[in-house]
Structure formats: structure tokens, C-alpha cells
Symmetry: C2
Subunit: 251 residues, 2 copies
Amino acid sequence: MKVTPSISLFPIPGIPLITPQDDLALVINKCAQKIGLELKDGVLVVAQKVISKAEDRLVSMSEVTPGEKARKIAREDEKDPRHMEVVLQESEAIVRHGNKVLITETRHGFVCANAGVDLSNAPGEDIAVLLPLNPDESAKQLRKGLEELGGQRLAVVITDTFGRPWREGLVDVAIGSSGIAPIDDFRGQTDLAGRELVVTTAATVDQLAAAAGMLMQKDSGIPAVWVTGVPVTGEGCVADLIRNPSEDLFR
Amino acid sequence: MKVTPSISLFPIPGIPLITPQDDLALVINKCAQKIGLELKDGVLVVAQKVISKAEDRLVSMSEVTPGEKARKIAREDEKDPRHMEVVLQESEAIVRHGNKVLITETRHGFVCANAGVDLSNAPGEDIAVLLPLNPDESAKQLRKGLEELGGQRLAVVITDTFGRPWREGLVDVAIGSSGIAPIDDFRGQTDLAGRELVVTTAATVDQLAAAAGMLMQKDSGIPAVWVTGVPVTGEGCVADLIRNPSEDLFR
């Protein structure tokens, strides 16, 4: 007896190093076709770095002049002061700084290390890769592009790898999405015992990000994963699941 | 052309409401067999509630006498004072309290709402379900039980649904595991550009928990999911990924 899985994850191999000259939808669609994947009724999960490179969200470190604050942090944390300068420029606020870790709030409202500014896997030694300016819009545009190429009933989730408080290890989270409700809202439904569920709302896009993350480890060369078996329905985007700072107990 | 997924998730249906009289390994193995699943070379992800019920981690609220502190919190938060009393008994420390949310540190070192003490889906109106005393040991015992029934090269991950700072929505995380490294440690490896990866360590068990969580929503009646395509290797358990409080910036 052959059992059919409910949810399946397909890595999309062969995606080359992306530049701003590339049409990302075209590249991904071609690589998916090559392994026989039809981008219909599923979720395309894409690593942030690919989006940022396609959108030219790159900064040459040689053009960065670190200010006093960046130099101070770099000295304390044994980091590159130019890197820290870019991080500060990408940050709305410093949330925590200690143990050589700088946690900031980005323009999008994400709270993460170094404002998501990364030096690894950059196209050159002295290039910093910044988060997309508007990852929800990036997801929307990529979805549109894939639909124009024949994709149907598909969602796009853009992910980055964040640390978290209290636990070691990183997990991928959604930073942008289009075509799927970010939170599967159960409020008002009842559980199996008939009790009303009040606050049980699963963050679907983050579950998708973490699942796909298992195939997108940094050394795998896989920046895109196709997920089937998850209902592709609902409105909204990742910006909707950022908690209102006034309701946040960990600011 | 039929594409083979890299990672597949199979919900295991038909698991009845569990009592301390049940042999959980036997029940799960039978339900897996019924749909033709062989528990070999994969990860069994199980919801905490099932484990807690099998281990009789239940408290009858009618036997709880709330103390002054529990009554005060219950008054402020419009909660059941007996529930709050159980939460306090299960907590090592209160981490945050505000907006009618009580975040505590459990005996295991988990930081979560209400010490993981849950009233929903309990076998009776006045029963609170507590976290397992030692979820890593629970995972080990379940794995052993499944191996005795013919399971091979399998890991067990026990999950609960936690909220998180800065983001709305809940995501399942691992609270116990056996048979798989909790963190896939990349330290010392190099990325595609040859740069040394310093702190990129994926929390594999939490990725598995989040992925399986998509099939274990509270109204689905699915408390166990079989995951294939993830390497079942490595040592350690969930206790190993609790961050040392002295290194935690969010205590």
C-alpha cells in the first residue's frame, strides 16, 4: 500500500546566483519545469537573499563610512564597523545589545540580529546584503510574474533565518507573503471538547517558512522550495502579523 | 513526469482520546499501520497533549485551592484563579505579566504563556493539562516502544504550540526529542562563497515541529504526524537547545 503524503516539499535545484538583471520569476519557473514541477496549487517559499539580490539591495562596504556609534559597537563586538554602520542605517531602533549580539528593529518592524543585514554568500567579499525594502510587495510581484508564466492558485512566501529568545538555533520565518493568509485564525471556533478557542491562531506563513527551511540550509544551494498540501487561501501579508509594539511585552 | 518530494508529511488519523491506561506506542503504531505507514527512516512528531494524557499529567481543578498570588493574577486577567494557581505551581519564575498574558519559565526552562498549562481539549471541563515532567525522556520512551514494535531508524519529537515576542500567531515548537540532533550545527563549515559560517545553526527539531504543526491544528483531531526525508541522525535532545539564561538578552 502506497500512502500519499498530505504535505510535500520539493526543493527547486539549479537556481543560479541571481543579479538585478535576472527575471526571477522566469528563472524559478524554468528550474521548476526542469524537474517536472508545475507551479499550481501550492506555495513557493523563497529565501530572502535571492530576492534582495534581484532587487539590488546590495551595499558595497568600500563605500560605507562608519559613524561613531557603528565604530563603538564594532569595537565592543569585534565586528566590521562598516557592517555595523549599514545595520544601524537599516534599523529603526536598537532592541538589545549585549554578548556581541545586536538585536534591532527593522523598518518593517522585524526584530532580529543585525537588521537582517548579512555578509555571507554575498557576491563579493565586501558586499552586504540588505533585506528587501517591502518583502510583501516583492512576494506579490513574484507571484504575479509566476502567474503570467502559467502558475495557478499559488502563494509566495519570502523567508529569512532568525534567531529567537530563550532557545539556541535558528529557524526560518516569513518576511513577506502574497496569496495566503499569514495567520490561520481559529478564534470563535470550538475545540474537540466544545470549548471555545480564544487565541489559537497558527502563523501559517511562519510554519511554511520553517518547513521549507529544512531544505534551504545555507550549504544546500537551494533557495526555493515548492510546498503542496497547504490550502492556498485567504487575504493579508506578513506585515499583518507584526505585533503592535504597545501590546508587546518584550520591547 | 512525476516528481518525488524531498520531505513528506503524513498525518496519522484515528488516534483516540488517550488515557493513562493506553500504551501510546501501540496505539500510534496501530493507527499508522492502518493507513499503510511503516515507521522506518523518519520522524514521528506528536502533540504534547497526547503525551501528557498518557502520563496522567492532569489536575482536577476542583482539587486546587488558589493562593493569594493566583487570585490576584486571575482578578487582573479575568482568568480562573485555580488555573492560575496550577500555572504558578508549574513555573520557576514569572518572565512577563501584562495585557492579560502571563509568560513564565517552566521547570524545563521553556518560556511560554501559562507554563504550558492548558484547559482546552481536556477530557473534562475542570481538568488542566500540564506539560510532561521530562518531555525528552517521554520522547525516548515512545521511541523505544515504537522500536520494540518494529520501528527502525526513527526519531520522536514532542511539540507544543507557543506564542512568540514581536509576532502574532502561534507556531509549534519542540519540547522533547529523541533520536535526532536538535540543532544541525554548521559552525566551521563554509558558505557558497567560501566564507566561514560562524553562527548558522538550524534548530532542526523546531523546524520539524512547525512543519508538522500545519497538520495538527487544534480542530483537526490529528495529534501525530510522520515526517520522511529529514536525516534521522545525531545526538542530543531539546534540553540542549535551551539558551543559558546568563547569555539571554530577553530575560
